[in-house]
């Protein structure tokens, strides 16, 4: 056995278990005594393993790239929908202030139309606050991973402790001392909602920020807030937007809510 091809083939065949019993025994015998050969086999195995891992890694990287791309596309679409939704809400509130005679007739006509659809439509808004209480989520406070020397981090930690212990006034005071990051806005909204206050401004600010890590949860709590205020149209619209959010943390709750309300995707 000599030459590149033969020796190489033999060791590769040995590695892949393709040798006959006699050939395998002979090679094992040589490997016991020939340290250079044993080292070459080890090198071959290392390189082969690295090649296999390299391709497997490439596959995982390509998949993660795809996930990021999909998330970005979903994010842009959701951002667009949320912005449209917020604009619509603003328009509706402005319209409510003007309240022209014509608008009142339009609303009356719409109410009559709703009445004609079915009695459950009339009952549904009354049920929403109850469902809001049932489907509301008590979010866990942020965990502390590493110690930090910055004072803002210490204030945030204290705010999280106050939030966790239900010291709402103290938590709000502490959060108010921090700059309005997504985290601060999110927990401020949670405390305000827990104490029966309006948290729409904080939640809408998070929803309007592209790529916010709290966006899915903010949408969910905004929906709960709309339900609490018996704003069925807004709640349903927010529910529908959330269906398009990939890996929504409250996906199961959204499905259960649909079963209760009769909302259809």
């Amino acid at each position: 056995m000599s030459g590149d091809g033969d020796g190489w083939d033999m060791l590769e065949a040995f590695h892949e278990g393709r040798l006959s019993d006699a050939e395998r025994v002979m090679l094992e015998e040589r490997l016991r005594t020939d340290t250079a050969l044993a080292e070459r086999l080890a090198n071959y195995r290392d390189t082969r393993r690295a090649i296999e891992q390299g391709f497997a890694d490439e596959q995982v990287r390509a998949m993660l790239k795809g996930v990021e791309q999909r998330c970005a596309e979903d994010g842009h679409r959701i951002d667009h929908e949320v912005r449209s939704l917020l604009l619509e809400v603003e328009r509706r509130e402005a319209g409510r202030l003007r309240r022209s005679h014509r608008l009142r007739w339009s609303i009356a006509a719409a109410v009559i139309g709703v009445l004609a659809v079915g009695a459950w439509w009339l009952l549904r808004p009354k049920e929403l606050p109850r469902l809001a209480a049932e489907f509301g989520v008590q979010e866990a406070p942020l965990p502390v991973f590493m110690s930090a020397e910055r004072s803002s981090r210490v204030v945030l930690d204290e705010a999280m402790q106050a939030y966790d212990m239900g010291h709402d006034a103290e938590a709000l005071d502490l959060l108010a001392d921090l700059s309005a990051s997504d985290t601060v806005l999110f927990y401020t909204a949670l405390v305000r909602m827990r104490t029966g206050q309006d948290a729409a401004a904080e939640l809408d600010a998070i929803i309007a920020r592209p790529g916010s890590p709290y966006q899915a949860k903010a949408l969910y709590h905004r929906m709960i807030l709309a339900m609490r205020n018996s704003d069925a149209a807004l709640a349903e619209r927010l529910w529908r937007i959330q269906l398009a959010v990939p890996r929504h943390p409250y996906h199961d709750r959204l499905e259960e809510l649909a079963a209760e309300t009769g909302w259809k995707p």
Binding site: D4, N43, A50, D57, R61, V67, S147, A148, R247
Partner: protein, 175 residues
């Protein structure tokens, strides 16, 4: 791990990891995302070879530990200009299997570089044989070689070139 499991893991811990990496290592969003993807790749690799005992430790614990090791490795490689005294003491004092990780990552780096220096056809024949585990007859048919022997010869040449690039120039052969 299936693709679905990897995607689930990736999306589940993405916001928290990026926020943590940004805070602890003063990384920008893109650098933190790159670090997270590298940590996921290493995590998946280790799970697949059975090196992580998921019964003993939760996936996020491993994931954050891998991320920390990779970040520290980059700092030591000088890819980042962050001064060590800017880091938390706790971070630097954590005992980690850094040497082992660095050795493996270095080897992977050599292989990636070596693969990049091969021609497309050389890379493809290596991929088909060693990763997809195709037979030489299949490879000959897929790549338009005359027969399995020709494909085998090409595979040998490609592997030898790669080994030389990696620095393991001595291919196994008998004296």
């Amino acid at each position: 791990m299936t693709d679905q499991e990897i995607e689930h893991l990736y999306l589940q811990h993405r916001p928290r990891f990026i926020s943590w990496a940004g805070r602890c290592f003063r990384l920008g969003a893109q650098d933190a995302l790159d670090l997270y993807q590298d940590a996921i790749v290493v995590f998946v690799r280790n799970v697949r070879v059975g090196r992580l005992d998921l019964a003993a430790c939760t996936p996020p614990t491993y994931l954050f530990a891998i991320g920390r090791n990779l970040a520290l490795k980059r700092l030591r490689d000088g890819k980042r200009t962050l001064a060590p005294d800017e880091l938390d003491d706790e971070l630097l004092s954590v005992p980690a299997d850094l040497d082992e990780l660095m050795r493996e990552e270095h080897h992977q780096y050599l292989v990636r570089n070596g693969m990049a220096r091969l021609s497309d056809r050389e890379r493809e024949i290596i991929r088909l044989y060693y990763f997809e585990e195709r037979s030489m007859a299949e490879i000959a048919s897929m790549m338009g070689y005359k027969n399995a022997d020709v494909a085998k010869k090409m595979k040998h040449v490609s592997f030898q070139k790669l080994a030389e690039f990696i620095g393991k120039a001595e291919l196994p052969q008998f004296a």
